[in-house]
Symmetry: C2
Subunit: 357 residues, 2 copies
């Protein structure tokens, strides 16, 4: 797509890995004033950690919003604008987004549109935030039933990715992020794949390395193609079918996680990839086995497949009423803009529900 | 200020002057789909003119919002996002903003934030829109009592400035735009000043030339300094005191116009300029006489001056609790970032209310 502006992606600074909060806190001194955005969870579990590492921040005003994707909407943006107004924030004030994807998406959007552009720094506190949401400038809020329907491509000033916050996560949050970690391995980082393959995420003890590699993978991609004209589309691997499954199951199950949906999408899209490219059956099995080791499968019967495929047509990335996928050419290498026949999509969902695990 | 992104100001195309609608309509053919944004006034008076010049546009969907600054708010943005969603607009759909400053400000903001960036073209239909609001990428909506508190710097794809729409204007709308035309003359276009000086705006018969010159003045400035780091600040001449007067009188008078407020601001700020720079008294008188010929003065007594000065402290452009003004160094030449002592501001308002006209 053509953006109305050019992202200054090269100017974003990143501090990644153990101790990065401590090492980068001085970068915040450049701002005459900082306001911190949290939700009730990060206020309880992460703000004390932040204060411990950077005691000066105790002086800052804090804006608290309610956690959860269901609150990521224009009412939340209005609340943040209102608080920024009440606190008399200026264009030179920095908003420090401390939280998961909801906080960085919503806070980034509110900051970028306040007085036509306040700057912000992201401190992701979830695995998903650290390896995905906080990086790359996609901000926004949901609008009615549409995810991120209102938003902007706008970069933070900097991103601090410190694994210190990971100990605050529950297993749903681990899963959500881990599906994205596996995605980077599959589309671009064979080395990461070999590091992870065969392990359940709870067995991983080198998170500092894993997160650093995954975050760097995403940074490399968005630096090269911030505005999603080319290779950034590879990041959509697993997400076209995954998002449709997420929408479908959100209506019926409360227990659906983003991780489970993307995991399912990756199984289906890896299977399609194997049909379209010269993928060996062994490699497909290796991928599916690793995904199954970490994620439960959704249960649904054949009669629902048609409806799930129809949900894909609401995808923001549709063009000319056709679905374009990001596909694996082999393990560690992806390609994008692959038009996929609806019958092949249906067949992949059949494979998903019928395959012997 | 530092923007989170760089505006592609150089890529904006402009079609200016008589016949420009006719000559540039083909540029809209590049877009697979166009949706037109109007208010009830432009729907009645301007849309038929547009259809006449570009009959293909009759096929386009139209979104209609309510006219007036009081409707330029997040509720209006939400309505536009809702309509765009309902009409299934995509990232490749163009929003054609047909109207005055409210439509181009609000439509630009809604488009730029829909699905993280839909493109838009401005077709200003008021004098103010043609010489100011539609040019330069300032979009946004008001939030509570704060003008343009939520918004973005984001450029349209193109701007079509065709005087054909001017015949639909009432005298308030003429005045609002004419104050900005005079501002360009004063800050940067001596030739335009000599063309206008001594005339009431109703006597001007060469609007095509006047609008083209004023619009080009603004384009030159925003091309040079889109993000308002330097010379673009010169455009604030008359606006610091003008906006405070506008806020003050909006509370008590319904008949306040933007034109009258900026005219008053320019008298005060020209007077301060003459105190700070080596301005001859004759030149100040020439400026004030021309402004008085075209704009009524506000009536208020000395006891209100303190309150008006306090209103200036809500200005978006305040830094470190100090007021910085754009000032005239001489007729046709401005400068910016001039710190002005509050007592001098008060004295200028005293001059405004006490000077014999």
């Amino acid at each position: 797509m053509n953006l109305p502006f050019t992202l200054d992606t090269d100017t974003v600074w990143y501090a990644i890995g153990d101790g990065s909060l401590d090492k980068s806190a001085h970068k915040l001194d450049d701002f005459p004033r900082i306001i911190i955005l949290v939700d009730e969870n990060t206020e309880n579990h992460c703000l004390p950690v932040l204060y411990h590492q950077a005691p000066n921040l105790k002086m800052c005003d804090v804006i608290r919003v309610s956690s959860g994707e269901k609150n990521k909407n224009i009412a939340q943006s209005s609340y943040i604008w209102n608080e920024l107004t009440r606190l008399n924030a200026g264009r030179d004030t920095l908003l420090l987004n401390l939280g998961g994807g909801v906080i960085t998406d919503s806070g980034g959007f509110a900051a970028a549109t306040f007085k036509r552009g306040m700057r912000f720094v992201n401190i992701p506190t979830t695995l998903l935030g650290m390896v995905d949401a906080a990086i790359g400038g996609k901000t926004g809020v949901d609008f009615h039933d549409f995810k991120n329907q209102v938003g902007l491509f706008v970069d933070p000033v900097g991103v601090i990715i410190d694994p210190v916050f990971l100990k605050t996560l529950d297993s749903r949050q681990w899963q959500s992020g881990f599906s994205e970690v596996l995605k980077y391995a599959l589309i671009m980082d064979k080395d990461l794949w070999f590091r992870l393959n065969g392990r359940h995420f709870s067995e991983i003890d080198d998170w500092n390395t894993v997160i650093s590699k995954a975050a760097r993978d995403k940074i490399d991609i968005v630096r090269f193609d911030a505005s999603e004209r080319g290779v950034r589309k590879n990041l959509n691997f697993g997400h076209t079918i995954g998002h449709a499954l997420e929408s479908f199951f959100l209506r019926t199950h409360n227990e659906t996680t983003h991780g489970m949906a993307i995991a399912a999408g990756m199984i289906c899209e890896a299977w399609i990839s194997a049909r379209l490219f010269d993928f060996e059956e062994d490699q497909l099995n290796e991928i599916v086995t690793m995904i199954d080791k970490n994620f439960e499968r959704f249960l649904f019967d054949e009669s629902k497949i048609q409806l799930i495929v129809e949900l894909m047509h609401q995808d923001k990335k549709m063009r000319d009423n056709k679905l374009y996928f990001s596909m694996l050419r082999r393990l560690g290498k992806a390609t994008h803009d692959v038009e996929v026949d609806p019958q092949l999509i249906e067949a992949s969902l059949l494979y998903y529900i019928n395959q012997e695990k």
